[in-house]
Symmetry: C2
């Protein structure tokens, strides 16, 4: 069977109507549309064909049609292709209230990401998740040891991409202020600019030689550094708008709501799931759309997820995901994500200059 232009138009009309109402769409509803001036009977014939092609289904005999995953997939692919073509055209979305993000007082990228997740959730009425910035090839920018109390020092570790982590180290030996500065100097000289892999045994033994008496401090600092790198690998995850799932009855029936909320609370699972996502079907830019079963998280098989990869330069990057029902407004979500990306780029460039 052939999928001609009219069938496509009808399919898309069904999808868009279903997106708005959440109810199965009948032939009468479609026939009322002006652009394809057709009687319900004709629509019914076409619908029957579309069903045969696996693009729509009836929940039960005397009901209207709803799109299948395959139907959505067709719709989304077409949409993304269209968008790629006319990417130049100005689009007039209501501007996101992202101004706040531009404030100079971004002390932690993480805070900004969380805020971004909140803005996205509020604007789309879906649930958002954002993985913290992350890099396979991040390097040690510098570290800073400061005396705190008797027997305790504060070690601040800074990685490329401005990932900062504080470690309070408890020492058995006493280290004087001057000695600490000396150590600080040595450690930075030896370690600055190295990645985790590059801090190998020879570097370490060289360091320990040079450190003289203060082997304990050095090894604890090294532990802290290793842990910072490791933590960086563990994808911190921020979510927002979890309660939005209650807007969509198809996501809250049975235990679904509970399972979804649980998944969102288990940030770790979520983080590695979203982190493992890679472009399946070659799609536009960094934006990926996963529909129903394509989502690699069991409890989200009734959802669709749209992800985008943001990049803060230096190879530091992370993912933003928007989770909604399969009938989510893909167009709006993709547009919104795209706008968010350009904002992020703007912020990044500004910081960089």
């Amino acid at each position: 069977m052939e999928l001609d232009a009219r069938k496509l138009e009808i399919l898309f009309a069904i999808i868009e109507n279903y997106q708005e109402t959440g109810e199965p769409v009948g032939s009468r509803t479609i026939s009322k549309l002006d652009r394809l001036n057709l009687s319900p009977a004709t629509i019914r014939n076409e619908m029957s064909d579309l069903e045969e092609m696996g693009l729509i289904v009836q929940p039960h005999t005397s009901a209207g049609r709803i799109p299948t995953d395959k139907g959505y997939r067709l719709y989304v692919d077409r949409m993304l292709a269209d968008q790629a073509k006319k990417a130049e055209e100005p689009r007039d979305l209501p501007a996101l209230p992202m101004q706040d993000l531009l404030t100079r007082r971004i002390d932690r990228v993480e805070e900004m990401l969380l805020k971004m997740a909140q803005i996205l959730a509020a604007n789309t009425n879906y649930t958002t998740m954002v993985t913290g910035p992350h890099s396979r090839k991040s390097k040690l920018k510098f570290l800073q040891l400061s005396p705190m109390d008797k027997g305790r020092i504060l070690a601040v570790v800074v990685l490329s991409g401005d990932i900062v982590k504080n470690n309070i180290l408890t020492l058995d030996e006493e280290v004087g202020s001057d000695e600490l500065m000396e150590l600080n100097f040595i450690l930075n000289k030896r370690l600055t600019g190295l990645s985790l892999e590059e801090i190998n045994l020879s570097v370490i033994s060289g360091l320990k030689n040079e450190a003289g008496d203060h082997v304990e401090v050095v090894s604890k600092v090294l532990d802290a550094v290793a842990e910072t790198f490791a933590k960086e690998d563990s994808y911190p995850v921020y979510t927002s708008g979890a309660p939005n799932i209650f807007r969509y009855p198809e996501l809250t029936g049975g235990d679904r709501a509970s399972e979804l909320i649980s998944t969102l609370e288990e940030k770790k699972t979520l983080g590695s799931a979203i982190g493992s996502l890679t472009s399946p079907a070659g799609s536009r830019q960094d934006i990926q759309v996963y529909i129903g079963d394509e989502v690699p998280v069991e409890s989200m098989k009734d959802c669709s997820v749209v992800t985008a990869t943001y990049s803060l330069g230096d190879g530091v990057q992370g993912k933003i995901g928007i989770i909604g029902p399969k009938r989510m407004n893909y167009q709006k979500v993709v547009d919104t994500l795209q706008e968010t990306m350009s904002h992020l780029d703007g912020i990044f460039l500004q910081t960089e200059e």
Copy 2:
């Protein structure tokens, strides 16, 4: 009407049965209990009296009884009083898996608190919330300026209670490494040990005099310090076990689940609400029980909340709250919180030594 021992026993039997089943309790159920060998008819008479006293109600004419807020309040007060008396007795609860918390690698108190919230939620099957450590009279312990890139420095601010915050400052002027160290020294000399109130105009102008050319740096650092104090006031809040509310149908009917989850996600509202709680009825130790309407959060009027105040010394303290249905197992929750508190004390003492 008088509340004799037998009435009390029946009331408590009703409460405990209702806690287990979540179903209204009938007279037959109670009469089956061995300890008060009574016929259903007698129980009915007593129940009728209890209802007149406002301690129990019937959801509808031909149903069993469920406790009222007043009934729970009586039960809880009695329980807390009992517990105070026999506080010495060893209690054999299944030990909480708190060992993890004892690990030395507590780089941030916050992480430990989150983990604690998770353990509590998993063990009680209720929802937990924990406010971050917080102090009205916290002081600046020290600060540390480090050069980062061209035009940017990292300012680490440490408050009493080991509250550490990083601030990346973007400067218009260029500051050399030596000058930065000098500034570092001056700032620490002038500011260390002061609380927010004590950093007044005269301190600031003195500082600016001494700083010479680098007024910009000083004022930006002061902003960062002020913000750290302010942030400290804003109660970070961790929650865990939100999905547990789905275990209790009385909390998930209608829009209740959605509202509860929303409230939990709005950490800020939650923080100030839980922060504002003060001991209403004088109760045992630091543990407070709020039942139904006593909870100062609109969406939690169908819940009970048990809170405990933890203290990390130096006046630094925070609150733990356990949120569950009104029929929650108060005994278990109070015991568990008490055990957690002693664990925390243990950790704190160990860190201090």
